[in-house]
């Protein structure tokens, strides 16, 4: 049996003329200070991370795998730590005008602070139609299961997408995409008019459209801008003794604009900036006032945020970085009026 497996493996390798990239390993330490609007104290974290990436290529495609872990200790609270692990594999095949991609991954955490243990397997596939022109088409399917030990939003997510790309050159590319998503919640129960949980579970349908463009600015800078709008139709409701049963409380329309800019004038320096602004309009939900009573106007939330990072290396092995990120959401409803700020630094050894 072992011999058979050996020969099959050898035949597979020989038939595709496989060449491996040299694996890339990273190991790093980091520290960060976090402050949020709902907490009066700063949280100080120190973190350890490590990952490895390997890709094998052959004449008509490649396959690759990745394994990584991040562990953060909260120095402000001796008993608190969080971790996140990821394992992924993907296969990409090129056949004439078509390309095919299959991918799967598992993200998990033994302790994610907010959710306890966390487990998320993902899988997906894409078919690309790439004629000999700047235009291309892509069909996508992605699936996910989210399990959260201490939280009630466990769910199965399935999404389907189609996108058309226009890539005249490396200097500029653009795409438009449409995506449909269904989410089945397994623990999120609906309320009845008496405020009791029923056996009916939450079920969401989402539709989104996205347009994005990106390219180079001079030799050493890259940019990308994405505009997105979406509609969420959910059967979820909420109940409070103050206002009773509020049906369709999660139905909403969203708009989002995000951008990314990165600049590396020398291999030793990297500067990156990301930003976003988003607007949520809840179609069937009123904003609560400071006393928890229901107001007259629909709930709206305006969110904005960004990250600025600076990286430096002297020898292309030890990479230093500092970053700062923030977000702010504005809303008449105090629950949604919040902010957060994080500043950190890290050193990563790449080999």
């Amino acid at each position: 049996m072992c011999r058979k497996i050996f020969f099959l493996t050898a035949a597979f390798y020989l038939s595709f003329n496989i060449a491996a990239f040299e694996p890339v390993y990273h190991a790093g330490v980091s520290g960060s200070v976090n402050r949020y609007s709902d907490s009066s104290d700063d949280s100080i974290f120190t973190g350890f991370s490590g990952d490895v990436f390997q890709r094998e290529t052959f004449n008509e495609g490649y396959y690759s795998w990745y394994a990584g872990t991040v562990i953060d200790l909260n120095l402000s609270d001796d008993n608190e730590y969080k971790d996140m692990e990821k394992l992924s594999v993907d296969l990409h095949l090129e056949r004439g005008l078509f390309e095919y991609e299959g991918r799967s991954s598992i993200k998990f955490s033994l302790n994610s602070i907010d959710y306890g243990a966390y487990f998320q397997p993902d899988w997906g596939g894409s078919v690309f139609f790439i004629p000999d022109s700047p235009y291309s088409l892509k069909f996508d399917y992605n699936g996910s299961i989210i399990y959260q030990e201490d939280y009630y939003e466990d769910r199965v997510i399935n999404s389907f997408g189609i996108s058309a790309g226009y890539d005249p050159s490396f200097k500029f590319s653009s795409s438009v995409a449409l995506k449909g998503i269904v989410e089945n919640y397994s623990e999120y129960c609906l309320f009845n008019s008496f405020g009791n949980e029923t056996s009916s579970k939450r079920f969401d349908r989402k539709l989104s459209a996205e347009i994005s463009a990106g390219g180079t600015a001079g030799y050493f800078a890259e940019w990308e801008i994405t505009a997105e709008t979406g509609f969420q139709d959910s059967n979820a409701n909420r109940f409070s003794s103050a206002y009773g049963l509020d049906e369709d409380s999660e139905d909403l329309i969203s708009y989002k604009l995000s951008s990314l800019w990165s600049f590396s004038p020398l291999s030793s320096v990297e500067i990156g900036a990301e930003g976003f602004a988003g607007y949520l309009y809840y179609t069937d939900r009123k904003a609560l006032d400071d006393d928890g009573g229901m107001g007259d106007s629909n709930l709206t939330v305006f969110k904005t945020g960004g990250t600025l990072d600076l990286g430096w290396t002297k020898n292309n092995l030890l990479f230093w970085s500092i970053y700062t990120s923030f977000y702010r959401s504005f809303s008449a409803d105090p629950e949604f009026d919040e902010w957060g700020l994080e500043t950190g630094a890290g050193i990563e050894y790449s080999f």
Partner: protein, 244 residues
């Protein structure tokens, strides 16, 4: 008087021979003149440069210093059309004559060096005939390349000089970004051997910019690209294969 037809024929033959001799003499004089002073015979550039300098704020000594360099370049067979844009730029930016002279000395030196590198390579005459290729070779020296590297880049493009400008642009941008000359040279060779379109050559640097965000050591990433270039038809395919 001998007015026989033979005499007339003989006289006419002598005149024709003298006439022919004059024509040949003038022809060879012109050829010799153009060989010794190839540019000065064709170019009004020296007068144009003098006129521009005289209209500038430079004093006589400054004008003389710049003109001497131009005349020297002209005598050395370096086309003044290479130098004139530098002078125009310096005048428009009001750069001092001594600074301009310094720039010109460097420019003339690299052009001279480029010519001597090209002349040593057999079948590379087109790189001197096409002045933009000669000038591009000089740019390589300004970017810090040594003579062996410049010669290697000329040799790589000898069969297809049209790819010289895009491939050397890639080389210069990779070296400026921080790749060692030899790594950049191997990468350019792999690019020239690949099916990538010339317009996409410069896209290679954008891959390095993106790999930098993932802290991938550039030498390792260069090896990845070099290894994959033989298997891809388009830049997009390369992008997918090498980026994580």
């Amino acid at each position: 008087m001998n007015s026989s037809p033979e005499r007339y024929t003989a006289a006419a033959g002598t005149e024709a021979a003298v006439y022919k001799f004059h024509i040949i003499f003038i022809f060879f004089t012109v050829i010799l003149h153009f060989s010794l002073f190839p540019q000065s015979a064709f170019s009004d550039s020296i007068d144009l440069i003098r006129s521009s300098l005289e209209k500038s704020e430079y004093n006589k000594q400054g004008i003389g210093e710049v003109m001497d360099l131009c005349i020297d370049a002209d005598l050395r067979g370096i086309p003044l059309e290479f130098i004139k844009p530098r002078i125009d730029e310096a005048l428009s930016k009001k750069v001092s004559s001594s600074k301009l002279a310094e720039v010109l000395v460097n420019e003339i030196g690299t052009l001279d060096k480029a010519r001597s590198v090209i002349e040593k390579i057999s079948d590379a005459d087109s790189f001197l005939r096409q002045k933009n290729l000669w000038q591009r070779t000089a740019v390589l020296f300004s970017a810090g390349a040594d003579e062996d590297t410049a010669a290697e880049l000329v040799k790589m493009n000898i069969q297809n000089p049209d790819r010289y400008i895009p491939s050397t642009s890639l080389f210069v941008s990779l070296v400026k970004w921080g790749l060692p000359d030899m790594t950049a040279l191997s990468l350019v060779k792999a690019v020239l051997d690949s099916s990538l379109k010339e317009d996409d050559y410069s896209g290679i640097i954008s891959l390095f910019i993106r790999s930098r965000r993932s802290n991938i050591p550039p030498e390792k990433f260069a090896a990845r690209i070099t290894g994959e270039l033989g298997s891809v038809r388009t830049f997009r395919q390369l992008e997918k294969r090498v980026l994580q």
